[in-house]
């Protein structure tokens, strides 16, 4: 009892020293991050691969640029040792029947033949002693991915003693090739017995790979023999045949793209040469992995397909595998089922890549599957950004950076330069031979957007930038002398690459806030919308999208307000968020991960497990701030931890919103409801006109729990909100949380809300990047126009930081800090980027 009393007393006395100041939101505002900087990938410096064939004179100028020195080759090989044809036929060139004395008795038999559900043409050619492909017997129509059954019967006038049969089947895939297709992979031989047939022992197989096969058996006496061809399909062999033929330069890192190893083919039956692969991998330390491109888009397409069979047929999928996809993947009724389907696809894809998950490099575009790929064991991920306007690039980065930190796996940024417009999807093509070249050099995204993507990739911790449409986008023959110079996009790449070589210390990308999403989130960071592109949104999904739209205001609406190229967008809230999935199949998020975030903001529907609740309690006790809604509590949080308990009543929010001391904070544009709580130690943070509690704060250990009560922080009818292109009413409770997070966790102030910003923490200082996304005019078929009137002069307040001068690193200009206001100014042109080094010695 005495001990308890002393503990409570000590807690009361120490509390003011353990937590932030009164009125502050986040318990621990320590700026210095725990995350180590990203390690170099494969022991190399940051990679910017561009493929240039050695000795190609067109590149003789370009190869003098530093940006072309980071050679990363991408080789492409076919998936299977022998790729099956799309269609199967029964195809026999010759049959030879031998008696037990070794005599050819084929001609003594009378031939009849038939095929199941097909016409068998020219059966007589199997006995014409012509082995050529032009003299074969075959069926039509061909079968798509299915076996074609048929048989050839030989009737003899008197019983004969037969001991072997030779079957010559199939034909070379290509002229002068040694690979055969439409082989009789499955066959059996029968002898007539009574009114039926009896299988001759040892003559049945389902794995023949030989175009000329002699089947020997114990002599059988019969008047009638049936050679049944039961099929032409067999498991594909994922072998080292193609990979081992590659001429791979020593010491250079490289990818291997396997053609056809995609989502649609993931149910293909294969056998793997795993040991051969492992030995090869050991001998090739530069091997980065197998890119698996846009698996998210493909999966979404599968789920949404109206004519699945037709779509799969178009994609060259056999009907057998199409049936499997239809049975196992399509029409999930829950998000868990959708994710289970994705896992099946993933496992199938693994089978097409020698079972080596660690070398699978998944590329996400429309949907954020980064965490899933990492949870299931991949070694690397890419995000692909493309287009402008309806696509927002920053949230893609929040997802992948968070995934990378949650799983300790590096990531890269794949810059696709295309853009949708009136002429369809165009790429910038300054050379004129790229397929999507309708708009030539005026196609695709602007050089300015390319630049902002590059700088954001570098500053947010990507290990590599891959460059789509090289060389068409980046090179051009300006003087028509057959030698390439740099195009406007090429100049952007050069300036950026020179910058990162000159300023190699990017420190650690600063993301003190984790956005905690449910594992089955299925979010499209580029545009929101249906979950997995398939399920309607619930209130939790609207909350998540509301948070993303507050941080990166939705560009589709901004286009109407201000027609210009949007893909990045500024807001007061900065690029300081990582998406973390706290509850995964492998367990709750690790404490070592959680401790890197000063605040953990739960988004979406959650019902935390007991283990996750224990983890959160530990996190808060050690200084974290957990922001959680009453609808996300589940059943394991203790009231003592929350400092409050639910009464069970859900009531309407009344009037406007006030701080505890009665200061009006904001009004609500729609009707809200809240879950009534009873306080048991927490302090009120927000209340409505009737004094109802809408948020409260409870200090626990060194940390804090912020409990919000408006249902999912969104208004009453939010689930009916149409997605994704219509305008929304704002969700002021979300903005209130973000305002508080920025106030406490961003060590500088920026006076213009339209400026995009983020920070990197160095050993002795801070890098502050500022993007002016305004004033860039670009469509899919018109050249970039920059409106100088949209330049911005920004005032950056240094708050508690102390520095006499700062330096803008791209220009090398020093900027003086005004002592009185502890701030400095900088002007940034339309679509331009500033990277400012603020020297600070006592960050730790």
């Amino acid at each position: 009892m005495k001990k308890t009393y002393l503990y409570i007393l000590a807690s009361l006395l120490l509390t003011p020293f353990l937590h932030g100041e009164k009125g502050e939101f986040v318990a621990n505002k320590n700026i210095y991050p725990f995350f180590a900087g990203p390690p170099p990938l494969n022991g190399k410096y940051f990679l910017n691969p561009v493929n240039i064939k050695k000795g190609d004179n067109r590149y003789s100028k370009i190869i003098t640029e530093d940006m072309t020195k980071g050679v990363v080759n991408t080789f492409h090989v076919p998936l299977l040792e022998n790729t099956p044809p799309v269609y199967n036929r029964l195809m026999v060139r010759e049959i030879k029947i031998m008696d037990d004395a070794g005599n050819d008795i084929t001609a003594k038999g009378v031939l009849s033949a038939k095929a199941e559900n097909a016409t068998l043409r020219y059966p007589e050619r199997v006995t014409d002693k012509d082995l050529s492909a032009q003299s074969c017997s075959y069926t039509y129509p061909p079968q798509r991915g299915k076996d074609q059954k048929g048989w050839y019967d030989f009737s003899f006038t008197v019983p004969v003693k037969i001991s072997s049969v030779r079957i010559s089947s199939g034909r070379p895939r290509v002229e002068e090739g040694d690979e055969y297709i439409n082989l009789a992979s499955k066959y059996a031989i029968y002898a007539e017995k009574g009114s039926g047939w009896e299988l001759i022992d040892g003559t049945e197989t389902d794995s023949n790979t030989n175009p000329e096969v002699v089947i020997q058996f114990a002599p059988v006496r019969t008047k009638k023999l049936r050679i049944a061809i039961n099929g032409q399909t067999s498991p594909g062999k994922v072998s080292m045949k193609h990979i081992s033929k590659l001429k791979i330069p020593e010491n250079d890192p490289f990818f291997i793209g396997i053609r056809g190893a995609n989502v649609y083919k993931s149910f293909t039956d294969v056998i793997m040469d795993k040991s051969g692969y492992e030995a090869w991998k050991k001998a090739h330390p530069g091997f980065l992995g197998f890119p698996v491109e846009e698996w998210d888009n493909a999966y979404r397409t599968l789920l949404r397909a109206k004519d699945l069979a037709g779509m799969l047929q178009k994609s060259g999928v056999s009907s057998k595998n199409a049936d499997r996809i239809a049975a196992k993947i399509v029409k999930p009724s829950t998000r868990k089922e959708a994710l289970a389907g994705l896992k099946l696809i993933h496992d199938g894809l693994t089978g097409l890549h020698f079972g080596d998950k660690s070398k699978m490099i998944f590329l996400d575009c429309a949907l954020a599957f980064n965490h899933y790929a990492m949870e299931w064991g991949c070694g690397y991920v890419f995000i692909e950004t493309t287009s402008a306007g309806y696509q927002r690039h920053q949230p893609q980065m929040y997802f992948v950076r968070g995934a990378s930190r949650q799983y300790g796996i590096p990531w890269g940024w794949y810059i696709a330069v295309g853009m949708n417009g009136k002429k369809g999807y165009t790429d910038p093509d300054y050379i004129g031979t790229w397929s999507m070249n309708a708009a030539g050099g005026s196609g695709g995204i602007s050089p300015s957007l390319n630049k902002r993507d590059r700088y954001l990739a570098w500053l947010s911790g990507a290990e590599m930038v891959r460059n789509e449409v090289w060389p068409w986008t980046y090179c051009m023959d300006k003087d028509k002398d057959g030698i390439y110079e740099l195009s406007p996009h090429g100049e952007v790449m050069k300036e950026w690459y020179d910058f990162i070589r000159k300023n190699p210390d990017r420190g650690v990308s600063y993301a003190p806030v984790a956005l905690g999403l449910p594992f089955e989130h299925g979010v499209s960071p580029i545009q929101g919308g249906k979950v997995f592109g398939y399920f309607p949104c619930n209130a939790g999904d609207i909350m998540t999208e509301g948070v993303l739209r507050a941080i990166v205001p939705w560009m589709m609406h901004k286009i109407k307000e201000k027609p210009q190229e949007w893909a990045h967008c500024g807001s007061p809230y900065g690029d300081i968020y990582d998406v973390i999935l706290p509850e995964t199949p492998s367990g709750p998020v690790k404490a070592e991960v959680l401790k890197n975030y000063r605040a953990f903001f739960m988004n979406g529907e959650h019902s935390p497990s007991e283990a996750l609740v224990r983890r959160f309690v530990q996190y808060v006790k050690e200084g974290g701030t957990l922001i959680i809604n009453t609808r996300q509590l589940g059943k394991y949080f203790a009231d003592s931890f929350l400092g409050a308990s639910l009464t069970g009543n859900t009531l309407p929010v009344v009037g406007e919103i006030f701080s505890p001391d009665g200061k009006k904070l904001f009004a609500l544009p729609a009707k809200y409801e809240f879950d009534e709580i009873r306080l048991s130690g927490a302090e009120v943070l927000l209340k409505d006109s009737s004094g109802n509690i809408l948020a409260c704060s409870n200090d626990v250990g060194k940390g804090r729990v912020i409990l919000t009560t408006p249902c999912m922080l969104v208004h009453k009818n939010a689930e009916k909100t149409s997605f994704p292109y219509t305008a929304w009413k704002k969700f002021p409770f979300i903005n209130w949380i973000l305002d508080n997070l920025v106030k406490d966790l961003v060590p500088v102030s920026i006076d213009l809300p339209e400026i995009q910003y983020g920070l990197n923490i160095l050993e002795e200082g801070i890098l502050l990047y500022l993007f002016n996304n305004e004033g860039v005019h670009k469509t899919g078929s018109t050249a970039e126009k920059l409106d100088e009137k949209e330049s911005r002069t920004v005032t950056i307040g240094l708050k508690k930081l102390q520095a006499d001068t700062v330096m803008e690193l791209r220009s090398g200009k020093k900027l003086k800090v005004d002592k009185e206001s502890n701030s400095f100014k900088i002007t940034i042109g339309p679509g331009d980027v500033a990277v400012i080094r603020i020297p600070v010695k006592d960050l730790k």
Binding site: R89, A133, Y140, P142, R171, I181, T433, S435
Partner: protein, 157 residues
């Protein structure tokens, strides 16, 4: 006289193309082989829009050969290259009854027109043939690819 001959030929061609929809595509009953690529079989699957044969990057030799199985009397060949952008193919086509003596039925050696979904129709006086060959010379001027969606052959068995 020459005019009448040309007019007759034109009329004959028009009649052929008008009736083509109802005529049997003999290629559907045949086989196909190629000098390169993985899936030439899609070129005679009766589908003009879906899968296409990709001859791949080889040493400048892209030939497809449709084998009707037996000698037929043919008068029309329809050719559907891959279409969808500005690329165009240079090519020519020949036919043969015995795979030894070939007769040219189409000359696209100087072609610079991108293909369309309507394909190309070649009509000619009926000729006995079993083998129909398409020789692709280039994609654009020097591009080393050959892409074909479908070949159709019309005539009598």
């Amino acid at each position: 006289m020459k005019k009448i001959y040309i007019l007759s030929l034109l009329l004959f061609s028009l009649l052929l193309s008008a009736g083509e929809g109802k005529r049997e595509n003999l290629a559907l009953k045949g086989l196909i082989s190629a000098t390169s690529g993985l899936q030439a079989d899609v070129v005679i699957d009766g589908n003009r829009k879906h899968l296409y044969w990709d001859g791949g990057v080889t040493a400048g030799k892209w030939t497809l050969e449709v084998d009707l199985g037996q000698v037929c009397l043919i008068d029309t060949v329809k050719l559907f290259f891959w279409w969808g952008d500005t690329r165009y193919y240079k090519y020519f086509m020949t036919v043969s009854a015995d795979r030894k003596i070939f007769m040219e039925i189409a000359d696209g050696r100087k072609n610079t027109t991108p293909p369309t979904a309507n394909g190309l129709t070649f009509t000619f006086s009926p000729v006995k043939a079993r083998y129909i060959r398409l020789h692709i010379l280039s994609c654009r001027e020097n591009g080393r690819y050959g892409h074909v969606r479908e070949i159709e052959v019309y005539g009598k068995e």
